[in-house]
């Protein structure tokens, strides 16, 4: 019961934010933070729980966004696009995952970097379809049988609901046998295999579920921001997503959300420092990694422990 009180308080704060502020800039920023949180939750399956370094998450995010943009601009109803995005990212993750997930550590990281670059190059050079480096604009918004969110606040509530659902599903998966297999694979692949876990299958599933999260977030991104270009899904974005996961707390659902929100908002909050904001931002990230290796999510658990030690 006690553990539910902070959760209820958080939920109340989240729901009241648009009431407290009608600042369009703040709401838009939070919308982007929520989308990042969904992508990072996806990354957590492969990297946080299964221990596979994946720099391809931004590419899956982009694939979902471009699938949605191209489909809706071609006249397909929006309701079709989440399914299309899922099919495309599942196919892509399967094609990438099947031959490569037998690789470990740095080799897998290199492969996923390569995959991200291939996707970026296809987007940049397949201009008649993707709009090339100019991107795609005037993307139709979210609409289900003529109903859809209007304005940033309605988008905010929709995205909060999507994030809550994504977190709930992630929590259920974590509690399932698949979730336990993921953790076992991360702890020791050899030991997990000795215990009967099919580690290749587990890694592939973690990778594909993560890609689905990214694809669906991409679908929502394209339909709510209504403009996409390759620079939003580049290698820099892939590194940023990984940083969000590490800073928030690898393996923690709360950490994924905190990391994504913090690293989306922090650069904006530090804008008053002018060009120095990047220095402080970098120092902040280093400070978290050094002082709280378990990420921001671990800080809350450290405080009572330290208080008890006194």
């Amino acid at each position: 019961m006690k553990s539910r009180i902070p959760l209820a308080l958080c939920a109340a704060v989240v729901l009241l934010i648009p009431v407290a502020t009608h600042d369009g800039y703040v709401i838009q920023l939070l919308n982007i933070a929520i989308l990042n949180a969904i992508v990072v939750l996806g990354l957590n399956f492969a990297t946080g729980w299964t221990g596979q370094i994946n720099f391809g998450q931004a590419a899956f995010y982009g694939l979902g966004a471009y699938t949605t943009a191209i489909a809706t601009k071609a006249g397909l109803p929006w309701i079709v696009t989440p399914f299309l995005s899922v099919i495309i990212v599942m196919a892509a993750s399967l094609v990438l995952g099947l031959p490569t997930l037998r690789l470990r550590t740095y080799y897998l990281a290199m492969t996923t970097i390569g995959f991200g670059e291939i996707v970026r190059l296809i987007i940049v050079h397949w201009e008649p379809v993707t709009g090339g480096t100019s991107g795609l604009r005037a993307i139709p918004g979210i609409s289900v049988f003529g109903f859809g969110p209007q304005g940033q606040i309605q988008h905010y509530y929709l995205l909060v609901a999507a994030l809550a659902l994504a977190a709930l599903i992630a929590a259920r998966i974590r509690q399932s046998s698949l979730g336990r297999a993921m953790i076992a694979t991360k702890d020791s692949e050899i030991a997990a295999e000795q215990s009967g876990v099919d580690t290749t299958r587990t890694k592939l599933l973690a990778f594909m579920i993560g890609a689905v999260y990214a694809g669906l977030a991409g679908c929502l991104y394209a339909s709510s921001i209504r403009f996409i270009s390759p620079d939003s899904f580049s290698g820099i974005q892939a590194v940023l997503l990984m940083t969000m996961l590490i800073v928030g707390g690898m393996g923690s659902i709360t950490g994924c959300i905190i990391g994504a929100v913090a690293l989306t908002i922090l650069p904006e909050a530090l804008r008053f420092l002018g060009q120095w904001y990047l220095v402080l931002y970098g120092l902040g990230v280093i400070a978290v990694i050094v002082l709280a290796p378990g990420g921001l999510a671990s800080i809350a658990s450290l405080i009572p422990r330290r208080a008890g030690a006194r």
Partner: protein
């Protein structure tokens, strides 16, 4: 007598009323401006295009400081708020939303086209005049009546560079080499189309990623296919590398491209031999002027910011002064400013005159340059056809 007196009375009344109305309106409009007058600017101050963004920011800021030092506009100072777009369109949109919260009278924005594409819908909804330097020809074709461009675009360059190469330099076997971003790839398509019209086929079409450091494979391909010239489109940093690597590989071909070839930041990193003889067509740069006032201005900008003024610095500087003139006449009514921008005709800037076309493009004069050693020389201005 009677009809005359009525007529006189009516005309007289009309004249008095009109005079009073106009006198009140012009006075009231300037007086109605907020103090200070808020202007917004979003540009890349970090990331791989920070140099270009900084040069643009310098131009706008230098003009604002000058205007304020001279008493502002009707005694009201300008307040320029600048936000960094970073290197991504999402960040550019965030920066724009932040600028819009400050309810600026006019917004100046980036020379990076995807950033402007991302921002246009928000700015158009806010009904704020939006002045950009973005070089993709499609930027002003988005249908926003609030969007204007005060810098030349790659559509103009794509027409003029092949024409000059073929008809004036008599080169008919060019190789094309561009940076694989919005700027370079957009230009490459236009150049290929313009060459086709001139009945010339490029011997090689190549590109390199913005982060690439080694372009020797592309250069060797161009050389091996028997090119007599290279059409080069890129940013100063990568154009410098290309020209250095041409020297290292012993490739001696006529190079023609955008103003990165003659930019001070490029020439500072090249030897005289590497830079010599290369051509550029693009926005006007101040260093080639023979006017001592302009050279002094370029020196003052360099002294203040420690970064040379380039074509974007000139363009953004001119933009602020153009706005000053418009606000003095039209006041701080946004639709009136927009209408005045759309009606711009022969407004004399530092190096060129600006004239609005139906799309909202205001710059139609470009410069042809040639490096003599490390010194760019203006061979002459060249105008877009129809202007």
């Amino acid at each position: 007598m009677f009809p005359i007196s009525v007529k006189t009375l009516m005309v007289g009344t009309a004249v008095i009323c009109l005079s009073a109305a106009f006198a009140r309106e012009s006075k009231a409009d300037v007086a109605a401006c907020p103090s200070p007058i808020p202007l917004g600017l979003t540009t890349a101050l970090t990331g791989n295009l920070a140099l270009l963004g900084t040069q643009a920011r310098n131009g706008a800021e230098f003009a604002v400081d000058e205007i304020n030092a001279n008493g502002g506009i009707a005694g009201k100072k300008l307040a320029l708020t600048t936000e960094d777009t970073g290197a991504s369109s999402t960040d550019a949109l965030n920066a724009m939303n932040r600028i819009l919260e400050g309810k600026p009278l006019v917004i100046l924005s980036s020379m990076i086209s995807p950033h402007v594409f991302a921002q246009t819908e928000s700015v158009t909804k806010s009904e704020t005049p939006f002045l950009v330097g973005a070089t993709n020809a499609k930027v002003t074709a988005q249908g926003s009546k609030w969007l204007f461009r005060t810098h030349v675009h790659d559509g103009q360059l794509a027409d003029l560079i092949p024409e000059y190469l073929v008809t004036s330099l008599h080169k008919t076997k060019p190789g094309i080499m561009v940076v694989a971003d919005d700027y370079g790839l957009g230009a490459s398509k236009g150049i290929q189309a313009a060459l086709t019209k001139l009945k010339v086929a490029p011997v090689a079409i190549t590109s390199y990623a913005p982060s690439d450091k080694d372009m020797s494979a592309q250069l060797l391909e161009i050389k091996d296919k028997g090119a007599d010239s290279v059409i080069l489109f890129g940013r100063p940093a990568d154009v410098t590398l290309v020209m250095k690597q041409m020297g290292d590989l012993g490739i001696k071909l006529v190079v023609i491209g955008n103003t990165s070839i003659v930019a001070q930041t490029t020439l500072n990193n090249l030897s005289a031999t590497e830079a010599d003889g290369n051509y550029a067509i693009g926005g006007m740069i101040p260093q080639t002027s023979t006017d001592p006032k302009i050279l002094d201005w370029a020196k003052r900008v360099q002294d203040k910011y420690k970064v040379p003024a380039d074509n974007f610095t000139v363009s953004y500087y001119d933009t602020v002064y153009m706005l000053k003139g418009i606000i003095e006449k039209a006041g701080c009514d946004k639709p009136a400013i927009r209408d005045a921008l759309a009606a711009t005709k022969d407004w004399k800037g530092m190096l060129i005159s600006y004239q609005a076309d139906a799309n909202g493009d205001l710059a139609h004069t470009l410069g042809i340059y040639r490096n003599k050693g490390k010194t760019p020389e203006l061979l002459g201005p060249i105008k877009e056809s129809g202007f």
